[in-house]
């Protein structure tokens, strides 16, 4: 008690001194201690362009596209690729630079698209010998393909066109006929994925024209149109960029992958697998990511409860792209009605993740039970030796996988008896 009293007195005395002669005290401090420099006006970063403090880390975060040339077949990383026991992976065809979306024709023609380049290819199998032919070129990011009753539909950056009776005219293909072109022209997420729904309509993604922004009304949606290009309708909103979707073989519900925003963090957000149960649903972009947190820039005043939640989180920045339900008979029964998803692999992450095909096991009620790696090995020592884009089941139940870095298509088959399934 006595000590405290003394301290208090001393404090009061000092305070009084300060009050009497502030100038003298300040002068003394200024000489003894360096003054705090005025705050530097640091230019604040814009949404999606954060500071990365280290030039070495910057180098690991660059999104480097492949050169426009395919790898020679002997340079493909076939020996690095791993599949579960009983499965086998082989090169189906090579020499298709920037091989992207895959679709099978009714007569067994495989169609392959480009995103960075301008071509659509047909791969014809003649007794095990495969021939690759360009059936359309001079196209603008023709990533999206759909096939229906003899007609191939191509979705480019700003239009959808069709090639009728294409399998009968592979050597002399007609020019694509445009059926729909009501899209904004933007490079960012301007390429499309496309499919034919159980309602025989064309479904197409219309991506956000940015990494993160308030998208125009016309964007960040899945849209559907009739096969002649008429009657466009919004299916769902709040989609950043979906490059893969398919319909459940029994419930006919639409499931789609969606790529999460870049430059938020190494670990967030996850890419999503979503399930559409009602037309007009909103899946969160740009306000809510992965169903459970709001965006650091666009999410203020919003809540994730306003939006649909994903049915699975597919890893941060993994670029979950092409997906198909497996309905074939070649693979073991536990693969029936589950989903294969190609993960192109992260670029916006210093330690890369993905670069594989995963298998998603479903519950009876349409929810997701679990997922596990299926085809791996494209990621070696933190760099990609190939990057899977799309998956497509063949008539025999084997699975094709496109690789847009190597310009190749791989085929995964299963042999229950120990001998490789004959083709």
């Amino acid at each position: 008690m006595k000590t405290s009293y003394a301290l208090l007195t001393r404090c009061m005395l000092l305070a009084a001194l300060g009050a009497v002669a502030p100038g003298a005290l300040h002068a003394q401090t200024a000489e003894a201690v360096k003054p705090i420099p005025p705050m530097q006006p640091v230019p604040s970063t814009v949404p999606g362009r954060p500071d990365v403090p280290n030039a070495e880390v910057e180098k690991q975060l660059r999104n480097t596209p492949p050169l426009p040339f395919p790898l020679a077949e002997e340079k493909l990383p076939l020996s690095d690729l791993k599949v579960p026991k009983g499965f086998k992976v082989e090169v189906y065809t090579s020499g298709i630079a920037n091989a992207r979306s895959l679709r099978m024709g009714d007569k067994g023609t495989l169609f392959v698209s480009n995103r960075l380049l301008d071509k659509v290819w047909a791969v014809v199998d003649r007794n095990g010998k495969r021939e690759n032919k360009v059936i359309a070129s001079g196209l603008d990011r023709p990533n999206g393909l759909a096939f229906h009753k003899g007609t191939l539909y191509i979705a480019e950056g700003t239009r959808i066109s069709k090639l009728e009776n294409i399998e009968d005219n592979l050597d002399n293909p007609p020019k694509p006929v445009v059926i729909y072109s009501d899209f904004l022209n933007h490079q960012s997420h301007g390429w499309k994925f496309m499919g034919i729904g159980p309602d025989n309509k064309l479904y197409v993604n219309v991506g956000a024209p940015c990494n993160i922004c308030e998208p125009p009304e016309t964007n960040s949606q899945l849209r559907r149109i009739n096969l002649d290009g008429s009657n466009p309708e919004v299916v769902v909103r709040g989609v950043r960029n979906s490059v893969g979707f398919d319909w459940h073989p029994e419930t006919k519900e639409l499931y789609f992958t969606d790529n999460g925003r870049d430059w938020l963090s190494e670990d967030l957000p996850n890419d999503e697998l979503n399930r559409v149960t009602k037309q007009g649903q909103h899946f969160g972009f740009p306000y809510c990511h992965q169903g459970d947190f709001t965006d650091r820039e666009m999410g203020w005043g919003r809540s994730c409860t306003e939006f649909e939640k994903p049915v699975a989180l597919l890893g941060p920045h993994t670029a979950a792209l092409g997906m198909r339900f497996y309905t074939g008979k070649m693979f073991p029964t536990e693969y029936r009605n589950g989903i294969f998803i190609a993960r192109h692999g992260s670029w916006n992450k210093s330690k890369k993740l993905g670069g594989d095909v995963i298998y998603v096991t479903m519950n009876k009620d349409g929810s997701v039970k679990s997922y596990a790696p299926f085809l791996t090995g494209f990621l070696q020592n933190n760099s990609y030796v190939g990057r899977p884009v799309d998956v497509q089941m063949m008539k025999d139940g084997s699975l094709l996988v496109s690789d847009d870095h190597g310009g190749a298509i791989y085929r995964v088959s299963y042999d229950a008896g120990g001998k490789v399934a004959a083709r």
Partner: protein, 197 residues
């Protein structure tokens, strides 16, 4: 006066294209001759020769290969580039790209530097992370071009063309980055980058 300057430039361009085409016709097989044809319009690699035509020196090999490929495939239609590269084989494209990549880096623009514009441009570079892909010294890498000491008029044209979609990128990165930027920003950036060493 302005009209006369343009007439001279047009004449020079026509002459250059004519001589370039002639050179190309003489020896289509030789990368060296093909390179001479390039430099007829692009100048001595360190300066450039014509408005809106970039100086080529020290551009990264991948960037050059991709652009040459895009011209050949009409993914970028810019005359005379598209017709000059028509039919040039992949290996020849790569040899040409390798030869151009070895040319000396361009020299920074002459002429006065506007301090206010430089300051604004520096802030933009930080905000939009230009130096993330283009390197901190703007020397470029892989598929990303060198910007340092490039011609100011070409830089401005490239930015405007990316923004208006007149120029298609190989991938979508520039469109993404330029989304929030406008022409005032482009003029400041071109001024600043053309004066970097």
């Amino acid at each position: 006066m302005r009209q006369r300057v343009w007439r001279v430039i047009t004449a020079a361009l026509a002459a250059a294209v004519f001589s370039a085409t002639a050179i190309l016709a003489q020896a289509a097989e030789s990368s060296e001759r093909l390179l001479d044809a390039c430099l007829a319009c692009h100048g001595d690699a360190q300066r450039g020769a014509l408005p809106n035509v970039p100086a080529l020196g020290a551009q990264p090999f991948d960037y050059l290969t991709i652009q040459l490929y895009m011209f050949r495939e009409k993914m970028r239609v810019v005359e005379p580039m598209t017709s000059m590269l028509a039919g040039v084989k992949d290996d020849e494209l790569k040899r040409l790209a390798a030869a151009i990549a070895k040319l000396p880096a361009p020299l920074p623009a002459d002429g006065p530097t506007d301090a206010a514009r430089v300051e604004r441009a520096q802030a933009l570079v930080v905000q939009h992370r230009c130096n993330f892909c283009h390197n901190r010294d703007y020397s470029g890498q892989q598929n990303v071009p060198r910007l340092a000491a490039q011609r100011e008029d070409y830089l401005l044209k490239a930015l405007r063309d990316y923004k208006s979609n007149a120029r298609r990128g190989y991938d979508a990165t520039m469109d993404d980055v330029l989304y929030p930027l406008n022409d005032d920003h482009f003029r400041d950036l071109a001024h600043f980058l053309s004066r970097q060493r």
